[in-house]
């Protein structure tokens, strides 16, 4: 399969991007690329933001790391980006797909694509991250819990794009667990759960991904199997799928214990 015809624009700065017309945004192209080839997506105009320098910047503040949307999984996996503590970010990034995908795939692209089985979607939700958007009238901050509306659907409005992801730093005593079940290393997960416990910041959170829609978020005293069982009943997963998700959650909780 070859893509249907489209025009490509490659702005190198935010200023240039603001001059661009309407088009489908592509960053690393690890999801849109195949979709174009399969002709599942047939945009007439594609705007690549991979060359925009501002989107590859990383900023570390006292309480957060702000990662440009076009920072690749590989850059995070290799430790070329400051961590939020506990080695959490590199550990997640190292498990994303295959090296070839990590070399090109970006954190912003992954979140915007909103694949329910994506690593960043599940883990960033657990870590309490938010996306920082850019639009002609400025921009806004959208917590991941409200950013993803459903499978492959995000809360961006027309003309609005994600420019960075803000990830709060973990306290030294924070605990963390992440388990995903894949048929093979690097394949899409069929069950995944992230648990983040940071009592100093009063955070007790578990997130179950790969449920077909937006991730299931359990907070505070709901970070336990019984609550997850109840929530999963609404997910549409079959019994076996629910058993797997609960096992993944149990394992993530054990890691974080």
């Amino acid at each position: 399969m070859k893509p249907a015809v489209f025009s490509l624009e490659q702005p190198v700065s935010v200023a240039q991007l603001m001059q661009s017309g309407e088009g489908r945004i592509v960053a690393g192209g690890q999801s849109l690329g195949p979709m174009l080839n399969f002709r599942v997506a047939q945009p007439s105009h594609v705007i690549s933001i991979a060359q925009i320098r501002e989107f590859s910047l990383v900023e570390e503040t006292e309480d957060a790391v702000i990662i440009g949307a076009c920072v690749t999984h590989a850059a995070i996996a290799d430790g070329r980006v400051p961590d939020i503590g506990k080695g959490i970010l590199p550990a997640i990034a190292q498990g994303i797909a295959y090296r070839a995908v990590r070399n090109r795939g970006t954190i912003g692209g992954s979140l915007c694509h909103a694949d329910p089985a994506a690593d960043w979607l599940c883990t960033m939700t657990a870590l309490g991250a938010a996306v920082l958007t850019l639009r002609p009238d400025g921009g806004r901050t959208i917590p991941l819990t409200t950013f993803v509306l459903g499978p492959f659907r995000n809360a961006l409005q027309p003309g609005e794009i994600v420019q960075a992801v803000r990830v709060p730093k973990a306290s030294p005593e924070a605990r963390w667990g992440y388990y995903k079940a894949c048929r093979k290393p690097g394949e899409f997960a069929h069950a995944m759960a992230a648990v983040f416990l940071d009592p100093a910041r009063d955070i007790h959170r578990a997130v179950i991904g790969a449920v077909g829609g937006a991730p299931i978020v359990l907070e505070g005293s709901d970070v336990r199997i019984e609550s997850a069982e109840r929530a999963l009943l609404q997910s549409g997963l079959d019994e076996i799928g629910r058993i797997m998700q609960l096992a993944a959650l149990r394992r993530a909780m054990e890691q974080a214990a």
Binding site: V5, F38, E187
Partner: protein
């Protein structure tokens, strides 16, 4: 067998000559061919599994670049009949016209300068369909009232065959009876290179030249000429470097016929390269079997009788040349495996369904058959409370029985099967595993061990194939051996080497006979214009048949070299030997280069009685018996099964293979490793599911799971080398064995791990979902 690493002849692990170009990315595949004026083809393919075709509307202004069935004037469908009684014939249209019978069937061909533009055209073609109910399941296909894939048949059975026996007495008296129903998944063979075609018309020779990624160029020529209605001298097939076949490229394609027609019709070259979506969703599949088997045994686990019913999901069309009968006929004839027993009954059906045609895949029916038979052996073992390997030992054919004709008249040439099994039982350290299981009886991750043993018939010839009456019967295999004027050697063979390393192993055989250095030996293959006829590369036949032919041709060539050499040495021709690149008589010798120069460049110095055939020999070869070589292997595997997540991991894998005399042990190991990787795919990963409408559901490599580097363990390979009494060097075909053993061994290992929990899985692949399903079912059983 020769010791030491010296030399380049038979038995040496000579590095593969072809790897220099393969490893450097310098192979020349169909996709690398660029011809002036070449255009691209894209096909309009059926989105429905079963439908009547109404109007087809070509996009306005582009009518001359879109071709439908009516445009292919004089082109006939692909027909592959079997002579077996009751076989029903199918006609696979080159482009479908009255109806489509599976998703992905080609309906129109579109020609454009680039593939993308050809796909644009294909997307603009409008086809009216009247959807029909689809036949999706091979068992449902046999039920009365099922929709009909081929209406005029009256049912959906290509062929029913019966091996009959009266088992009534055994049924009454056998102390142990076990029964299992088993299912293997439909798989998609996935060589790294897909199929591909570049077709052109050579006006000077009035010849259609088809470059195609095929294993069987000479067979393709015959089939293609038949479909196009041209004579075979007007067709040349060239298979350049081919990036893996496994059976996927052992059939005549409708795309080949279509491209060949269009190249001649249009007057410019056309190219079609299969993409992964076409491969996965619409092209030929493999492996899908269903078994219902009863085994009867005594209390020691000795097998008394086997009563089997097997169904093969053959898909919509009988593929050329192997036909829709090969797989099921093989099931019936090889189910008994390497076991000795006296009563056997087997009914098989080849069901037609609305799926792509079924193509023999590495091991053909053997992977499924071995899985079925070895599951039964384990079932007997548990019924009589013995270790499964002990039951195998009790039933295996013994070395003193060799040669042995089994219950289906398969002629086992040689071997020591019990020894082969004993070696892997020892290698895997069974007692240690049993102890470990006891110590971890309550763990959520459980350990299991499984075994399989099987034989692989290779290089079987005329007497086996003529009885099936399919479009191809292998006979004598030929090879051309010719010296170049400067003393190099060209070998021309009609097979095609696409990963088997035959450019090296055939050179080793020639080196063994003539002593010419392997770097001066060129193996030419895969081109009908320059090679002798051959049925091609399939059935683990090449090292036996092409190897035997090369040896025969080189020996004849050696005699002619000897005659000239003796004359140059001025000794009687009976007094010389040819070897090590020399013709020698005592201490006197002359180099083969000198002999070559004499024939080609200094004919005035030739003896008067020289053979006028010169230094070019075409010779034919058959094995002493053409019933085939029987290589065999035992596999042993240790797995862990995560009872919470359903994951299966391979912890250890040991196998022992007897391929007779190994021409190149390193290449054999490579063949075994690659085969095992594919067998692991069959066991744990590969499955093409279809929905109730016949839609394939795993149409990308994100959905169709292939084993990769992380899924294939380090294999511990042991060899026995029992020579075949029937072949040139005692070698046996081993190309497929690696893929045959793993599903059985792995399934037995998983079930060994699950047995204490009361769960058993009788379906491949063993996915996490199926593991958890089986565990859930066993919990229900316990609580009920």
């Amino acid at each position: 067998m020769k010791g030491g690493a010296e030399g380049y002849g038979v038995g040496r692990s000579v590095r593969r000559k072809e790897d220099d170009r393969y490893m450097r990315g310098k192979g020349e595949y169909v996709g690398d061919i660029r011809l002036a004026g070449m255009r691209e083809l894209a096909f309009v393919r059926s989105p429905l599994a079963h439908a009547r075709i109404g109007n087809i509307r070509k996009p306005a202004g582009h009518e001359d670049r879109v071709f439908v069935a009516a445009d292919l004037i004089g082109v006939k469908p692909i027909v592959a009949n079997s002579g077996l009684p009751g076989f029903k014939s199918s006609a696979q249209p080159i482009l479908a016209h009255d109806k489509v019978r599976h998703v992905g069937e080609a309906i129109a061909a579109c020609v454009a300068a680039t593939r993308a533009e050809a796909e644009d055209l294909a997307a603009a073609v409008e086809v009216d369909f009247e959807e029909l109910p689809a036949v999706v399941d091979m068992l449902a296909a046999r039920m009365p009232g099922a929709p009909l894939v081929h209406e005029h048949w009256g049912d959906n059975v290509f062929l029913e065959s019966r091996v009959e026996a009266d088992l009534s007495e055994i049924r009454r008296t056998a102390p142990v009876v076990v029964r299992r129903t088993l299912r293997t998944a439909r798989q998609c063979m996935s060589p790294l290179e897909g199929r591909g075609v570049v077709a052109l018309y050579d006006r000077r020779l009035d010849q259609i030249v088809l470059h195609t990624a095929t294993q069987i160029p000479h067979i393709i020529r015959t089939g293609l000429a038949g479909c196009l209605g041209v004579s075979e001298e007007n067709v040349r097939i060239v298979a350049p470097d081919v990036g893996g076949g496994f059976g996927y490229k052992g059939m005549l394609l409708s795309e080949e016929v279509c491209a060949a027609f269009l190249a001649r019709h249009l007057g410019y070259p056309v190219r079609w390269l299969e993409d992964r979506r076409e491969q996965l969703s619409g092209n030929a599949n493999c492996r899908e079997h269903h078994y219902d088997i009863m085994a009867y045994a005594d209390r020691d686990g000795r097998l008394i009788a086997l009563d089997a019913a097997a169904t093969v999901d053959t898909g919509a069309y009988s593929i050329y040349p192997f036909s829709a009968c090969l797989e099921s006929a093989q099931v019936a004839s090889i189910l008994p495996g390497p076991y000795k027993f006296d009563a056997y009954r087997c009914i098989t059906w080849s069901s037609a369904t609305n799926k792509p045609g079924l193509v023999p895949y590495r091991g053909v029916a053997r992977a499924g058959v071995c899985y079925a038979m070895e599951t039964m052996i384990d079932a007997i073992a548990h019924a009589v409370n013995k270790e499964p390997y002990e039951v195998r030992l009790r039933n295996l054919v013994q070395p003193e029985d060799m040669p042995f004709d089994n219950i289906t008249k398969k002629h086992f040439d040689s071997g020591d099967y019990p020894e082969c099994l004993r070696r892997v039982v020892e290698a895997i350290d069974l007692p240690a595993i049993r102890r470990k299981q006891k110590d971890s009886a309550d763990a959520s991750v459980r350990i299991g061990v499984g075994f399989s043993i099987f034989c692989e018939q290779g290089a079987h010839g005329t007497s086996v194939y003529y009885g099936w009456g399919i479009p191809m019967v292998p006979g004598f295999e030929q090879a051309v051996a010719r010296l170049t004027p400067d003393g190099g050697l060209e070998l021309r063979v009609g097979i095609q080497s696409h990963g088997q390393g035959l450019e090296t192993t055939l050179a080793q055989i020639a080196n063994e006979v003539l002593g010419i250095p392997v770097e001066r030996i060129r193996v030419v293959h895969g081109d009908t214009a320059v090679t002798p006829y051959s049925t091609g590369t399939w059935g683990s036949r090449c090292i036996v048949m092409a190897g035997g032919a090369v040896a025969t041709a080189c020996r004849e060539l050696g005699q002619r070299i000897a005659r000239i050499g003796a004359h140059l040495l001025q000794v009687p021709s009976g007094n010389v030997q040819v070897g090590k690149g020399l013709v020698s008589s005592g201490v006197a010798s002359v180099r083969i280069e000198e002999v070559a120069r004499t024939w080609y460049l200094r004919p005035q110095e030739l003896p008067k009685d020289v053979d006028p055939g010169g230094l070019e020999v075409t010779s034919g070869y058959k094995t002493v018996r053409d019933t085939g070589t029987f290589s065999y292997a035992a596999h042993a595997v240790v797995v862990s099964v995560d009872t919470e997540m359903g994951d299966v991991r391979i912890l250890d894998y040991a196998l022992c293979e007897d391929g007779g005399v190994l021409i190149n042990p390193m290449i054999v190991d490579g063949q075994v490793c690659g085969g095992v990787a594919q067998g692991i795919g069959t066991a744990l990963y590969e499955e093409m599911p279809f929905d109730d409408h016949g839609q394939p559901l795993a149409t990308t490599l994100a959905d169709y799971m292939l084993p990769g580097a992380t899924e294939v363990p380090m294999l511990r390979i042991d060899h026995m080398q029992t020579p075949s009494p029937y072949t040139a060097f005692g070698q046996k075909g081993i190309g497929e064995g690696g893929a045959i053993g793993p599903p059985a061994a792995i399934a037995n290992a998983v079930n060994d791990a699950l047995r204490p929990l009361g769960a058993e899985i009788n379906q491949l692949p063993i996915t996490p979902h199926r593991v958890l399903e089986a565990l859930a079912a066993s919990r229900l059983k316990v609580s009920a």
